[in-house]
């Protein structure tokens, strides 16, 4: 069964959205689909950091942009 995630992109990028992810997809491939460079974000699954080559499971996901300053 393909996992369902509640996804939020912060800061100030998107409201919470519910996404159905293809079974076996990794966090890295999810970022690719969303056209987000993996060097610029942290991915938190239920508040905990995850390795990007891990498989996406049903959870609350937060994609956190890290760049600060300028």
């Amino acid at each position: 069964m393909s996992p369902t995630v509640t996804l939020k992109i912060v800061p100030n990028v998107s409201e919470e959205q519910i996404l159905k992810i293809p079974e076996g997809a990794t966090y890295e491939s999810l970022l690719n689909i969303l056209d987000i460079n993996e060097e610029t974000v942290l991915v938190l699954k239920d508040g905990e950091a995850v390795p990007l080559d891990g498989t996406v499971v049903s959870s609350n996901l937060e994609i956190l942009y890290i760049a600060s300053g300028g």
């Binding site: 800061p11 460079n37 390795p51 891990g54 499971v57 760049a67 600060s68 300028g70």
Partner: protein, 348 residues
Amino acid sequence: MDDRIILIYILWNFYIVDVFEGTLVRTRCDKSYIGSCLLIYQGRLSMSIKCMKCNRDAIIYQKYSGMHLCRKHFIEDVERKVKLTIRQNFRIGKNETLVVALSGGKDSSVVLHILHKIFHQRRDLEIIAISIDEGICGYREHNIEHAKALAQELGVRHIIRSFRDEYGTTMDELAAKDRVYGTCSYCGVLRKSLLNKIAMELDGTKLVTGHNLDDEAQTILMNHLGGDVERMIRLAPPRALEGLVLRAKPLRNIPEKEVALYALLNNMLVEFERCPYSHEALRGEVRKMLNKFEVGHPGTKYSLIRGFDKMVGVLAKDYPQVTLSKCRVCGEACTGDLCQACNLLGRG
């Protein structure tokens, strides 16, 4: 609820609950069904990726090193690299005063946290944090509050100075004026000058900044793109110069992403607000290009700074270190008779 507790509950009651999808369906079933469910369950449990150094769940995959690391070993890895960088580039002797430029963002917070962790038992060392309020409304105030809280928590002396008090203007005012250069040029030059001035006043022996691997790799690439060899040499691990406090960048071997993760794990994660003027910087374009390269060719950022560190010794022979004089207006160390800060402010 912990998965294992749910598993025990299942065995006890001969019920199977769909714990994986978070639904509440509970079905009474026979032993053979439970057996097959357990196999699936064990398979799913083993799906979490483990740390290469222990059996805990990994929180990061470092593509450039091929390592999966758990929280504990990731923190150890970062701190090990910082200690190595200090030992190789910015050796800290006895009775030093380390002046840390603390903006309150993730990088400077992490560098202060780690320096304090490494050196807080050294009674002969003093760590002082300094924050500069550039006067960027809606951006800097939050970071300064965070800087104050962190310094207080660590018991580190903290000094706050502002562009307004020092230069009689703010970045918001400078940004609104007709100007020759981008806002980041004004901000960078004025901040560096003020940081050095305060560090000199405090008899600082090192001026520590939170520049990370991404910052360094971007700067090297920008200097290459601009053909600016002299500026590139100034980036090299520092040498002592009269009038300038020695710069130290303990995070220069830590990728920005790992600095952010370290901050998150140590509850120092601040809101990653972007400076309202940062869109003017060429750095943004270089950052984008480098990040794309890093994904396609992991280790590119490290390669850039390693290659640079090797080249710089050779280059320095053709580009000897300039002698510094004092600015005729403010007295700060500079290469001409007027420093860049005074030049930008139209003084003299």
